[in-house]
Amino acid sequence: MVTPAHFIALAVILFVIGAVGVLVRRNAIVVFMCVELMLNAANLAFVAFARMHSALDGQVIAFFVMVVAAAEVVVGLAILTSIFRARRSASVDDANLMKY
């Protein structure tokens, strides 16, 4: 019997993996991809809850999340490209001028 709880649990696991991935990876693009993973996990949770409540609001929200994620990826990668052109490096650690 597959209940929404299963999906929630899966969403949690994927979310945590994505979170750890953001912290551990140095390549900016891979960091972005981990963020996308987190967003997808959240979407899964939304849809599971929507199913649980028999309401479609969760799906609408998941839909909006997808749209916003797409926009975010566009802008983020554009920024990344600009930085790469300037600094020739895609590592998030190299953008560390704001230190004490």
């Binding site: 597959v2 979407n43 849809v47 479609l56 609408v60 990826v73 490209t81 300037a86």
Partner: protein, 260 residues
């Protein structure tokens, strides 16, 4: 559409169970692999696996529209965008496995495990009931129901999201735009530059061998050494000569830059 998803009966139940567990393990493994893989392209492909399994889950959960949107938009557009940028950026030293910040991996793992434990507790305590019946109060298909919601209750978010998309598109164009500061060189000027640069001929192509003919295989020079010029810089990472170079601003036209 509804019937295909909502098969009742024990057979459907077993099918769902099997589907869930297989895809769940697959997606978790892919996610882990994504986090741990060395090459960025591998990460992107593993993410595609995760997204596709999520699409199947959406379909299982009675959200067919979302499932298709996931495949088309997310996997098809967003992930491809990632791959394109990977192509531009190429291989850099960022893929090194050595951690530079002290204690980062340790504390990240600790925090991750703690987060996992806490959220599991949350789920354990939360009253996550069984799946309710598919909402058929709108009588018609999932798409119509979604459309009904979007255009009535969630109209404002919809419109604002539209504006957001436009802003994102314009922003991306602005950020990546490179202004031409000099008039576009004509064909004649290009030819003159080429002759004057000392290399009038095209760059050597990658090596083609019996068992490998990938784009990143270097060609061999007559004396047996590898030719650096035969592999695109994108694939091999910046060489020692390019490492110390600091080009001028982002919106400038660099002289030696490869022109697309």
């Amino acid at each position: 559409m509804n019937h295909a998803i909502l098969l009742a009966g024990p057979a459907a139940e077993t099918a769902r169970l099997v589907t869930y567990w297989v895809l769940a393990i697959l997606s978790v493994a892919a996610a882990l692999g994504m986090v741990l893989a060395r090459k960025a392209v591998h990460c992107a492909l593993l993410l595609a696996v995760v997204m596709l399994s999520l699409a199947v889950f959406y379909a299982m959960l009675g959200a067919p529209f979302l499932a298709f949107v996931q495949v088309i938009v997310y996997t098809g557009a967003v992930l491809m965008l990632f791959l394109f940028v990977l192509m531009i950026v190429g291989i850099t030293a960022a893929d090194s496995i050595i951690e530079t910040i002290r204690g980062q991996r340790l504390w990240a793992s600790v925090a991750g495990i703690a987060m996992l434990a806490l959220l599991s507790l949350v789920i354990g305590h939360a009253a996550i009931g069984p799946a309710g019946p598919n909402s058929s109060k709108f009588g018609n298909s999932n798409v119509s129901a979604l459309a009904n919601l979007i255009f009535t209750r969630y109209l404002y978010p919809f419109e604002i999201t539209g504006a957001l998309l436009i802003t994102a598109a314009v922003g991306a164009m602005v950020l990546t735009h490179r202004e031409r500061t000099k008039p576009r060189p004509s064909q004649r000027q290009l030819a003159e530059q080429r002759i004057a640069s000392g290399r009038p001929t095209p760059l050597p192509g990658p090596g083609t061998y019996a068992q490998h003919n990938a784009v990143d295989m270097p060609a061999l020079l007559p004396d047996g050494s590898q030719s650096e010029l035969s592999v695109s810089e994108v694939l091999s990472g910046p060489g020692p000569a390019a490492a110390g170079e600091l080009p001028s601003g982002t919106v400038g036209q660099e002289a030696g830059e490869q022109q697309w």
